[in-house]
Point group: C2
Chain length 285, copies 2
């Protein structure tokens, strides 16, 4: 298969650098093709602006949406953006690896999404009617592809736990996993998390890579996070609110996962747990 | 008072441009001093990297934390970063205005936080012991200052409502409001939200500015979001998990708001509502 690794860390001689190398070696060793978008090494332009659309009509006000739509349709995007889109088209699996800075991705990776996710490519796709509201959240350009986050944090697993002060890590990552990955059609795998990244000794480093290797080997078999599809009957259209009766006893982001419902239907056997919990071996490290 | 407006939109002739001008005029008209960090106009460098620390020892691997700590302590940060820190020191109220791109801020503003929030300034401050875990979440450099988001979205208010497919807007903004603003000590005001930004006619535009003006006039009187302070007894230290018995019937981000508890104590009078709900006049626009 084809793997794309989108990677954002400024220092190759770092924990993240060693993880990046491990990911590449693991996939290449298994006979897969790997492309790496090393955003710092590429000098990736982070800020979306009018310069991204060199052939736009400069007498009109710049519009991130309208100018993106036109440039994507007419093939007049900048070469760096078009190249990343081609990498996405080729990929079966996309891994986004970054250190958690201020509870989100580094600016340079946010700028990858802002610029590569063009209108007509990652959003603004499909009909809007009383039955469908665009091809998104379960449909879209990346339907059939898989995506996974590999994230390091300086903080402790407890600080990101269900009652931890930072907020649960799965909720902090929801705007990324649901909003940036599931939205344009990716099946999103549970994230691979490495906590206490600045207190990593050689034993834990080796254990971390072992666990990561197992995750990578299993990436095409692993069950994705069970987010609800937008156009398959769970939501009112066009309000896009979850239909009454669904998601009982849930609130917030958890409403948008089908497995919570399944847990209820299963007589509470899984109650209080979320799918993917068992896939977070690094939580305790 | 001194107001700092940190603003990220690439086009002055836009809805956001008109809101920026309105904010400046409103505060200046009321006799306040206003500084504007117009990140696109400034050509703000978005990506944190080793170039931000020109006097660092280049023979060692770059460390975002360690190099930031040293440069901040020794006064060897770049001039653009030091200037923004000085603006923060002068400000009584800081407004962050941006369009919601992919459920977060544009990369250029994320890069403002990544670079301006130095180690020793916005994090890594204070003693870590069994009673305190640094000066953060209710303490820190910005204690006594207020901050507020002004955010535009293309999506509808319903899509960002409690059961909306995008997730509740207050939860999507938690990593920013709690993680980037409350963390270094700001009192965080409820956000001012403008939905359906691409379908703005002159009547709704005028109504929006009227409502924003009222919010700005009241910015120093308005009750901030009641996030829980880290070191005042609500959390176990160093696990930083909310103590057993607190936040009953809540989960996720809502655990970290004191007003949910107060609502319970008040006999459910406010049950199911969150403080700040009444401060979102733009939800319905």
């Amino acid at each position: 298969m084809n793997v794309l690794l989108v990677y954002a860390h400024p220092e190759p001689r770092s924990l993240n650098g060693s993880i990046r190398d491990f990911i590449v070696d693991r996939f290449v060793g298994a006979g897969h093709a790997v492309e790496v978008s090393d955003l710092y090494a590429m000098g990736w332009k982070a800020s979306l602006d009018a310069d991204d659309f060199p052939q736009r009509d400069a007498t009109r006000p710049f519009s991130a949406g309208a100018d993106s739509k036109q440039a994507f349709a007419e093939g007049t995007q900048t070469a760096d953006v078009a190249a990343e889109q081609d990498k996405l088209r080729r990929a079966d699996l996309v891994i986004f690896q970054f250190p958690l800075w201020w509870f989100s991705m580094p600016a340079i990776m946010k700028g990858w999404f802002d610029r590569v996710y063009a209108y007509g490519f990652a959003y603004g796709v499909g009909e809007h009617s009383e039955k469908r509201w665009g091809e998104r959240y379960g449909e879209g350009a990346f339907k059939g592809k898989r995506a996974m986050l590999v994230v390091t944090t300086g903080g402790w697993a407890e600080h990101y736990s269900a009652r931890g002060i930072n907020g649960p890590i799965e909720d902090l990552l929801f705007p990324i996993q649901h909003g940036m990955l599931f939205y344009p059609g990716f099946d999103v795998l549970p994230p691979f998390l490495v906590f206490k990244s600045s207190a990593m000794d050689s034993t834990r480093h080796a254990d971390t890579l072992d666990a990561l290797g197992a995750r990578l080997d299993n990436a095409m078999q692993l069950a994705p996070i069970a987010y609800r599809s937008q156009n398959r009957g769970d939501y009112l259209i066009p309000a896009l609110t979850l239909k009454p009766g669904l998601g009982a006893n849930r609130s917030g982001f958890a409403l948008h996962r089908r497995d919570e419902e399944a847990a209820d239907a299963a007589g509470g056997k899984l109650n209080g747990r979320r799918a993917g919990d068992e896939m977070r071996p690094m939580r305790a490290l």
